[in-house]
Subunit: 144 residues, 2 copies
DNA sequence: TATTGTTATACTCTATAACTATA
DNA sequence: TATAGTTATAGAGTATAACAATA
């Protein structure tokens, strides 16, 4: 298996992945902007819509410094999309949780992410399965 | 063909694409940082390594406002990676072009983008071909 | 008049370092 | 003493608006 690295085929696939990434990112930002959110704010809102989290955990997920999360959550909180709750188990911890409005926004956001579904519509179910399997092996099975 | 949108399979693929995008982006920034470049600077340098371009064209490619390009090119120029040249055909235009050092850096940058090659090593040539074809159809054939 | 690049301004994201309140 | 969250600071990317030079 592990041979090719700079062969034309591999480079072609790498190029295509770059194109997909650029398009995905662009449309994600655009979807966020439709709700007057930045990309980072939209990502945090999506994350919290799955489960309330301590600030520290948000930073780890976003792969940024905890100090940055303070501002992002501040802005989401100022817009009534998120709230900070105390953690009964540890008084140092603040749990960020979406409000009802925040949950509704997160759902709308999810729906507007047609970008990734739209192009898939051109593939048959069998092809989507193949794509899923190949991507899974690329990502390393342990995809979330 | 165009039926499924919210079926489990499609959503699974969308999720996987999101994972690939996050990983690609992260590793791109990391590769850029190894050369003390930001992601935006690395993207501009890569773009110019293909062909010198007017500031306006860079903005269009990055999908940002032209005023932002001024600063990014300023910083690349300050590091001796890029230079501004007059356009003989139109004296309003400034062509941004990589220096030799800039070209060398762009090439190193390209090489350090193993992130997208590494995971592909686990796929056979036939599988990479299949992946290429499916991605090409997603992207719409007209990939760069 | 329209276009190219720039400047000025304001906001967000980012990392670093220092601070506070808990543990 | 270690950890969670915050504040302060500085640099970079971003959009908007206004400007000079050129077309």
């Amino acid at each position: 298996m592990a041979t090719a690295r700079r062969d034309p085929l591999t480079l072609e696939v790498v190029e295509l992945i770059g194109t997909v990434v650029a398009r995905y990112y662009e449309e994600y930002e655009q979807a966020a902007a439709q709700h007057a959110l930045t990309g980072a704010q939209a990502r945090v809102l999506r994350l919290l819509s799955l489960e309330p989290l301590p600030m520290r955990r948000i930073a780890r997920n976003l792969k940024c410094e905890p100090s940055n999360v303070t501002g992002i959550v501040d802005r989401l909180e100022a817009r009534g999309l998120v709230e900070r709750r105390p953690d009964p188990a540890d008084r140092r911890v603040k749990l960020a949780a979406p409000t009802e409005k925040g949950l509704a926004t997160a759902e709308q956001l999810r729906d507007s992410l047609d970008f990734a579904r739209e192009p898939l519509a051109g593939l048959t179910a069998a092809e989507r399965e193949t794509l899923r399997d190949l991507l899974q092996r690329m990502v390393g099975e342990s995809a979330a």
